[in-house]
């Protein structure tokens, strides 16, 4: 194309520019690689029906094939970690519970374990409190996996799965509500124990649920596992092997679906998990299908743990003995619908001035935590949840950082999706189960 008087080309920052004088189209089009110019850039999200929250993906496509994916996050950045630094240690649970809103009890548990480790009271937590914590974490794991089944089902076209998943989740939320008073964002675990004890009615509901859910799980399997569309859309899709997982820091069901049985409940037990009998399900396929199987199996294992918790549950305190840390009153719902403890009010108002002062100090000022830093890792439904808490000896956290599994796992989207088809980006992204509230915090 250097014939004088005819089309010339020059490179600019915008790409190639041609000057066409007429009659020389062949010269122009012959100089271009047709494939390289067919690339289109598609923006997906942050508002999109199947991006699992406010995740934004910038995709570069060549026809239907994805050549490059760039996830953009931060659309739900809430500054929770900064807010924690202006509240006392007990108030912290109300903030962290709102990070990953599908697994609120895990956020609370991680935070409480970290504060307890800072205080040096990890071994003083009453047996009953630890058992209830384990039980509720496992119930929460089930509800989180149910939402994963529901949303992933919806995104891959199985709308009925969405309805079923949310239907079963309501049973768990009922149990949570009966116990903590809230369906979500419970603030039920507190540093040193629990906010209040579990009522017997909730325990009865859990027993019913243990009978109810296995039947439903069979239904899900009957509906999805044998179904050709589900198999086609999940098998061999978004493969990420153990090497890829480890270098990208992926943990949880995605890692276990690649074949590595790494589960912090087994490998680095906390909260007495070593006393429970359960298996760590794995799969070998390393694809979306494997992750689906692992999650279904994990629901079953969690049911096993919940059953053992119910059997182990003995009456007793649910808060540490140390009155410098324990909240002074066990609140109950009074006839007026308000949380109150008339007995305690009578005591501090009528009998003991010291109790009143103590109550006032603990509630307004809070307890002091010796300076230092700790890191606590727990097994979250999506992987390792790490809490790095720093205290400067004051009544407020100096710094709390959450290593949220959604945040780390989302880095795997390019590795899973590049070179695959556009439709499989959805399946791959969904199989990571990202929750943007936890990711952006």
């Amino acid at each position: 194309m250097t014939t004088s008087g005819y089309a010339t080309e020059r490179d600019t920052t915008e790409g190639k520019v041609f000057t066409v004088t007429g009659g020389d189209w062949d010269t122009v089009t012959g100089g271009i690689d047709p494939l390289s110019n067919e690339k289109i850039v598609v923006n997906m999200g942050p508002q999109h029906p199947s991006t699992h929250g406010v995740l934004r993906l910038v995709l570069e496509l060549e026809g239907e094939t994805v050549t490059e994916v760039r996830p953009v996050i931060g659309y739900l950045h809430t500054g929770i970690e900064k807010n924690l630094e202006y509240r006392n240690w007990v108030q912290g649970t109300t903030f962290v519970t709102r990070m990953d809103y599908l697994a609120p009890l895990f956020n609370e548990a991680g935070y409480c374990f970290a504060v307890e480790k800072l205080l040096g009271i990890t071994d003083d937590i009453p047996e009953r409190a630890q058992t209830i914590r384990v039980m509720f974490m496992e119930l929460n794991r089930i509800s989180s996996h149910l939402v994963w089944l529901a949303t992933t089902g919806m995104e891959l076209g199985a709308i009925s799965m969405m309805l079923y998943g949310f239907r079963e989740r309501e049973y768990i939320l009922d149990i949570f509500e009966e116990t903590s008073g809230l369906r979500m964002n419970h603030a039920y675990f507190r540093p040193g124990g629990l906010a209040q004890d579990v009522p017997d009615t909730a325990l009865a509901k859990i027993r019913d649920f243990l009978v109810y859910l296995p039947k439903k799980l069979k239904e899900y399997e009957a509906m999805l596992s044998g179904q050709v569309i589900w198999q086609e859309r999940t098998q061999g899709v978004a493969v990420l092997d153990v090497t890829g997982c480890l270098s990208l820091g992926i943990t949880g069901p995605v890692l276990r679906a690649a074949g590595l049985p790494w589960d912090l409940r087994k490998t680095m037990p906390y909260a007495g998990y070593e006393k429970y009998e359960f298996d760590v399900p794995t799969a070998q396929t390393a694809d979306v299908w494997g992750r689906y199987l692992v999650r279904l199996a994990e629901i079953r294992e969690s049911l096993k743990i919940v059953e053992q918790c119910l059997d182990r549950l003995r009456p007793g305190a649910v808060m540490v003995k140390d009155k410098k840390i324990a909240w002074p009153a066990q609140l109950a719902i009074g006839v007026d619908g308000m949380g109150n403890s008339l007995e305690h009010v009578a005591k501090i108002m009528g009998q003991s001035m010291e109790s009143l002062i103590h109550h006032f100090k603990l509630v307004t000022e809070g307890f002091r935590v010796p300076p230092g830093q700790v890191y606590v890792g727990i097994e979250h439904p999506r992987g390792e949840l790490g809490v790095h808490a720093v205290s400067d000896g004051g009544t407020h956290p100096y710094r709390v950082h959450y290593r949220d599994p959604s945040f780390v796992n989302l880095q795997a989207i390019p590795a899973m999706a590049e070179g695959a088809l556009l439709a499989d980006v959805i399946a791959g992204g969904a199989s990571l189960d990202p929750v943007m509230g936890g990711c952006d915090r």
Binding site: Q47, G53, Y75, L76, G79, Y101, M184, A332, D336
Partner: protein, 222 residues
Amino acid sequence: MGLEEKLPSGILLTSVEKLSNWARKSSFWGATFGLACCAIEMMAAGGPHYDLGRWGMEVFRASPRQADLMIVAGRVSQKMAPVVRQIYDQMPEPRSVISMGVCASSGGMFNNYAIVQGVDHIVPVDIYLPGCPPRPEMLIDAILKMREKVMAQPLGPTGRKMLEARQARGDVPIVAPGAMPSSYRADKKRRAAWEQAVLEGREEQLRIEDWMQRQPHLRGGA
């Protein structure tokens, strides 16, 4: 005039405004605009237990071009704010906005650098729904109140003037604070109880008492 007599049976007369509002309120199409925790409760409201489909509301449109109700469900960050506005701008008129949850309404507990302190800084809001997160029942109630509000909305500039005149007169048809909840309106007996309570100025009391009565584990509590 006698026009009614000449009409064949089975035909109702109404104003264009009422007809249009009735059509609008009976088929709200929400934009799926989930942000945070509230989005999960919004999905639960669409699920089988609460079933928004009972009010023809289960259709959530992915495209804002097809939606006329935006439910801002969750905290709006500074980074998300331009996106929220863009989605609102893409929705066709007439459109309504429900600010679901305390974060969207006022920033809530996240009074900090990252969160927009109330989505009304970005888009006009019709209904503020408190709660953290609000229960699905509360969302349903907010949507039903939104319907009442739509019924009273004026059509065009003349209608707006008429509404302003009525507001000046004091007979405002818009939902007032403490208006009758839909669950009371549906039942004749409870409706009468509510009206009685309004006369006595104790409707909130009635709500709480009623709720307490339906909680068996609270009866005769401590």
